[in-house]
Symmetry: C2
């Protein structure tokens, strides 16, 4: 069995080890929740002061030109694009992921409505992140039930669900609960071969593993920057629309930043060419500056190196849980095949919430997801091999001692 | 005529004078663009460091509970509500003003569609801020031209435009170009008496003058926090829906933060009771913390005191421009009646852009709006009476010398 010393040795040899110093991390804490809220890059502490005190405080309105604020959704988008295989001019950072999905899905459904009126079904997964299903439900209602939502229960049901009436498939590449990872290329090809459109949610894949949107042939994607991209709580989302769809898609939230000439102040909307059409209101500059500084850390390595370490960390965690926690009734909800697994491992336990809380008491931070999931994320930037060992040690002690059974650990908080 | 010494004396006697120290302001600059981007409150410099370094950096995911992030859209909304006469539980800070207007207008139009199908017209002003017109145009298109947009050219045309087929009136209380101020109560009453709904955009009134939404009887409002509310570039917008409309309005961007139980992770959307239904994605915490610290400055005074000084500043400016600039072909686009004017004075000049740029060279910051408007905002928190005098002095010199005619001042920048 792998020992703690083996883990220390692996950390010594880890080519990414130095990148941990790019982050602020609380002392004596093992943070396994970067899939919910990424840790704070040191670069962002300085950046937010620059943006607030120098650019806003001193530069005031002139900073729209002088500090490059005007172009930020595009500039930051082009930097982020490189992490997900998107072309320049195809991705902007703006709004929330929910609002972006609304715009993208609405645009795609309007295209279907015009060009493929015989197609009426949106396919997704029952286990998809609920917000994505809510956005789709809102649009189904808004389109007067012209479309309906068909939910599959497992990835294996996908091919069979794509009947000729399917207009669009909307999937999250990495399942937020189980960590199941869809293989984007063949899935997209299968969907497109059947004549439907394909939209991906990259919330748990952007910054976690290599994504090649351009090669996928997908019709659009949205993603989140506050998880693996480390841009801070509630940081803006992103939206990708490939160039071939720019002239086909018309999103319904006509905003002045999506206008061909925002400062001409014309009373009629004229959609901007290209991805700018997907912008709406004035961009959130302070938040965008935090996305930009977080991306600067990614530029010190590459997604393939990050993925290699991520896989090694989750493999190690599964190995240790298998060997050390066999007697405690834990299940492993994540795929055991590394190439089907994102950067997380989800365990099942009848009282997963209490176990999560007891782990927090031992300074091992994970999170809980209904109904019985203890979700642990392994961000290769700052999680060490020895952290994996120590986390399993803490888990073993929590379960062996039964300390999780205390009432204090069962009391629910607002955010779980 | 008022002299510079008179202005210095008025500053000495100004009961709000000390509040200028609550802001960071660049040295030797007269900032008359708080109506576009408010200045940086000192409290916000410390706040953003706390939010980023302590709450995010140290507290990480636990800050959703421990630092009160979870409740921020509501908590900050309730604090802002007091400035605009809204009740607790009726206003949230979220998304951009454009996205908020989309949600509000969509909800109102769906209500009309169900309950008043004979009403098909949306009334607004041709000179309304273009983004508002764009949002309405996007919805007209999305509703398959079930509705149409009727634009008036002057406020005097409003009453005549509200024919029986009018569903909804959407106005910005203070005109972004001229500063014309609608009297919210009688206008709303007139619109409601004719059976239409009334939606207000408070972009240039929230934080600039007393607003009493509750007394107005309006059906909803949106607003902006980066102008007179001083929350920073691209800070989130707000949305107000009175309690009586909470059960009548259903907005179409179904988000997980607008769900009755976001963390139950149910696949079906169930709208939250109350204003929470108007939330969509994860709230932008860093931006919200900047709204909250900006509001703390308002709590040191009240909107009536701020309005009294604002009126005094704009009256003084108009008096001095009338007396000192009569020969230079300037027009005054703003109402001369103080009770019909917001916290700005807009001058017209054939080459307003170049005059604006020449003033910037003299460290007097205003902005330009198409086609010929030099717009000067007077934020009573930090603009002094002597600043008004000095600004008019600079304007007089720019115009008298003809220095604005230089090519360098005519060259347009991205943001004007």
């Amino acid at each position: 069995m792998t020992t703690r010393d083996d883990c220390l040795l692996r950390d010594q040899r880890d080519p990414l080890a130095a990148l941990r110093d790019e982050f602020i991390l609380p002392a004596d804490t093992i943070y396994l929740d970067g899939n919910s809220l990424g840790a704070l890059p040191k670069a962002s502490v300085a950046q937010v002061q620059r943006t607030v005190a120098a650019e806003w405080g001193e530069g005031l309105i002139n900073s729209w030109n002088d500090a490059g604020w005007y172009d930020m959704p595009h500039r930051v988008g082009d930097r982020l694009a490189k992490l997900v295989g998107a072309g320049a001019g195809e991705l902007v950072v703006t709004d929330t992921i929910s609002v972006n999905l609304f715009k993208l899905l609405a645009a795609a459904l309007r295209y279907v409505d015009n060009k493929m009126p015989e197609r009426t079904v949106i396919v997704s997964e029952r286990g998809n992140f609920p917000a994505d299903l809510y956005i789709a439900q809102g649009l189904v209602e808004l389109f007067g039930n012209r479309f309906s939502l068909r939910l599959i229960d497992t990835p294996e049901q996908l091919a069979g669900a794509i009947t000729p009436e399917v207009a669009l498939v909307m999937l999250t590449q990495v399942d937020y609960r189980t960590g199941y990872l869809y293989d984007m290329q063949p899935v997209t090809r299968m969907v497109k071969d059947k004549g439907a459109m394909m939209i991906w949610d990259l919330a748990h894949s952007a910054g976690a593993l290599p994504v090649d949107l351009a090669a996928s042939g997908a019709d659009g994607a949205v993603g989140c920057t506050y998880k693996y991209l480390n841009a801070g709580p509630g940081a803006p989302g992103f939206i990708w629309v490939p160039k071939r769809n720019h002239t086909l898609f018309r999103q319904p939230i006509f905003g002045w930043w999506g206008h061909r000439a925002p400062f001409a102040m014309k009373p009629e909307y004229e959609a901007a060419d290209g991805i700018a059409h997907f912008l709406c209101g004035t961009p959130p500059i302070v938040s965008l500056s935090l996305v930009e500084s977080a991306l600067s850390v990614f530029e010190k390595t590459d997604m393939h190196a990050l993925r290699a370490k991520s896989v090694a960390l989750t493999e190690l965690f599964i190995e240790l849980v298998d060997k050390r926690c066999a007697e405690f009734g834990l299940g492993i909800a994540s795929p055991r095949a590394a190439d089907r697994r994102g950067s997380q491992v989800s365990l099942t336990h009848a009282d997963a919430y209490a176990v999560k809380q007891a782990l927090i008491q031992r300074k091992v931070i994970g999170d809980f997801r209904e109904p019985d999931i203890l979700r642990l994320g392994f961000t290769p930037f700052y999680v060490r091999y020895v952290d994996v060992w120590d986390a399993v040690e803490a888990l073993t002690q929590v379960l062996a001692s039964g300390e999780w059974k205390q009432d204090v650990y069962r009391k629910r908080q607002a955010v779980t």
